[in-house]
Amino acid sequence: MSEVILKGLKKVYDNKVTAVHDVNLQIADKEFIVLVGPSGCGKSTTLRMVAGLEEISDGELYIDNRLVNDVAPKDRDIAMVFQNYALYPHMTVYDNLAFALKLRKTPKADIDKKVREVAEILDITQYLERKPKALSGGQRQRVAIGRAMVRDPKVFLMDEPLSNLDAKLRNQMRAEIIKLRSRINTTFMYVTHDQTEAMTLGDRIVIMKDGYVNQIGTPQEVFNRPVNLFVAGFIGMPVMNFFDNCRLLKENGKYLAEIRGVKFLLSDFQQKALTQNRAEPCEIVAGIRPQHVTVGEGELSAKIEVSEMMGSEYNIHARCGTDEVVMLIPTIDLTADVSMGKTVTFTTKPSLIQLFDKESGHNLIWYDEESAANDAPVCKTYTF
């Protein structure tokens, strides 16, 4: 068991700047958790606190049920892959991999066995005698991962390991990490600013902003039920369309969303969530994902400004009043004329509309099963 628990973890720098506020996170054994957020959100700092590279200002950190706040990095039983690889340039690949084991006074034969085993897995056996500068970016990346692997750590920490690779290599390495994971079979904490990486790699995703955790959930959860405007805008490509000055209405005991004068009767699930959250009619920001827009029907209309044919789909930038609307329309479903300058009608399924409180920015239909079971108003438990 190598469970990692972050309890009220906090980082305050000497200059009184708080980089991380009160992070609570329980990472299950063998879980792959991804910390994601824009730069400066505190994700790297959180990871470095787990690694022991940053002093923990407040809170408790448990690895495998052991309080490790004051334990040196080397004794935490963790390994880390750095953004810049941080390979020792003066050592061969072999020595890079063996260094940590040597420091632990592992017998030579065992070191050799382990290093070769890992090199085999990562397919870098033929480079063992080379120095890092003689390797390509992808190969260096493998060595960096290998260096962490040889130690059989309880927790595998990765700090933006793919951000220095070009797009093609990044996709390739991402796939390799997924494959690797099944072989290493340990707990992973992975930091990235790239939401695609987060979605594809993580069992659960932790979305951070300005030092606060905004949402923790599976990729599906954070995509379907973003907790607030920030998460909604951060997760998903292209970015979700937001419509300002919309309203949440209640007619005959049913909630309706009014977008640009068009009323949408919300689905049962949304009704339930809104009831649960005791939502009152109010001004809202409505969110619709570009993938969820249907063109050529409905009562909303927009003028197309840019229309990009992407092969299997059209990527359309249109103007609907003051809002810019991005639509991703599969060519196969297309019936309307979507050339530039044309005005088209569009709509979406009411169940796919996200409703954000205009004041607080949080999602009125964010729905927490646990609270729902207890019949507690979810919205009241968090304020941003």
Partner: protein
């Protein structure tokens, strides 16, 4: 696991008492970093012995001190500023100040712009390999010792040096420039520059190599000639460095050392070659030493230097963004 993001409650925990935990953390951080103290210790010791102990020894400037006396004891005779007053009324005072100042100011006037000029010229060369090669040649004399340098000066300008050999072979009189008061400063300054202009240029050359080539390309497209690019691209790039070097030079305006001047001194040129520093050496360590007096003179000189440095730095801070501190 409910949402953890509570903006309002996020700050409340700092108010918690942190006493024992805090101290523990400090102790832990200290333990982890204690090896650095061991690594720095030898350097601290060396500086203490050879830099700070002499600063303490400066106290003898205010004493009636005989070699062998303890710096602080019951029998110490304090004389206040007597030694300084003696120096001000020393007939040597004005000649010393003048000699020291003149050799520094002439040295500065030639020695300060020359490396800047050379670095700009080297940077303007088309062949970068040629520039590198020339730079290697220009820096080489820096590694010649002062004894050899002054020796070479005698081999060129001494009574039996090259210049006199040529004059003599043409039927002229041999004439030692080393015995001549008028030749001391030019020889001193020109030889110093010969030795060090290349070395001093290195710092500017390094700064110039950091200039973005695109700036030059943009200037070319704007129609700038090579010379205009030197003035409008290269020179501004090394301006901050020039300011810093200027401050340092002004701080050293009275700080000329004794090592080279002592080697070049002859009875003939003593009227111009006796500097504050060489005078300190002679009064303090040769003949019948008057250490307290010599120390007072030395202290007076280094205080002038510190004051000059502070003035230069403050002025520079006021008029530009560049300063040493």
């Amino acid at each position: 696991m409910v949402l953890a993001a509570k903006k309002d409650s996020g700050t409340s925990r700092t108010d918690l008492p942190q006493g024992p935990v805090f101290q523990n953390k400090k102790l832990k951080a200290f333990k982890e970093n204690a090896p650095f103290l061991i690594m720095i210790f030898p350097a601290v010791l060396v500086v203490f012995l050879f830099n700070y102990l002499p600063i303490y020894g400066v106290l003898i400037a205010f004493q009636d001190f005989m070699p062998g006396d303890k710096i602080l004891s019951d029998t110490t005779i304090w004389v206040g500023f007597d030694n300084f007053k003696r120096f001000f009324s020393d007939p040597q005072f004005w000649p010393l100040m003048k000699n020291t100042f003149l050799i520094c100011i002439y040295g500065f006037i030639i020695g300060f712009p020359l490396p800047i000029l050379v670095s700009l010229m080297l940077n303007s060369l088309k062949g970068k390999k040629t520039a590198k090669f020339l730079q290697t040649i220009f820096t080489a004399p820096h590694f010649i010792s002062l004894v050899v340098l002054v020796g070479m000066l005698t081999l060129f300008f001494g009574r039996y040096g090259l210049v006199n050999n040529l004059v003599a072979s043409g039927g002229g009189e041999r004439y030692s420039y080393f015995l001549e008061t008028g030749a001391f400063r030019p020889l001193y300054i020109l030889s110093s520059n010969w030795q060090d202009f290349g070395w001093s240029a290195v710092i500017y050359i390094a700064a110039l190599s950091n200039v973005d080539p695109q700036q030059h390309e943009a200037a070319i497209l704007d129609g700038a000639t090579r010379f205009q690019r030197v003035i409008h691209v290269d020179l501004p790039a090394i301006m901050p460095m020039i300011s810093v070097m200027l401050i340092m030079s002004i701080g050293g305006l009275m700080g000329v050392g004794y090592e080279k001047a002592l080697l070049m001194q002859t009875d003939g040129n003593l009227a111009v070659s006796e500097l504050v520093s060489t005078y300190v050496y002679k009064r303090g360590l040769t003949g019948v030493p008057d250490q307290a007096y010599a120390t007072a003179i030395g202290l007076f000189n280094s205080i002038i230097n510190v004051v000059l440095l502070i003035i230069a730095n403050t002025t520079s801070k006021k008029f530009s963004e560049n300063s040493l501190w």
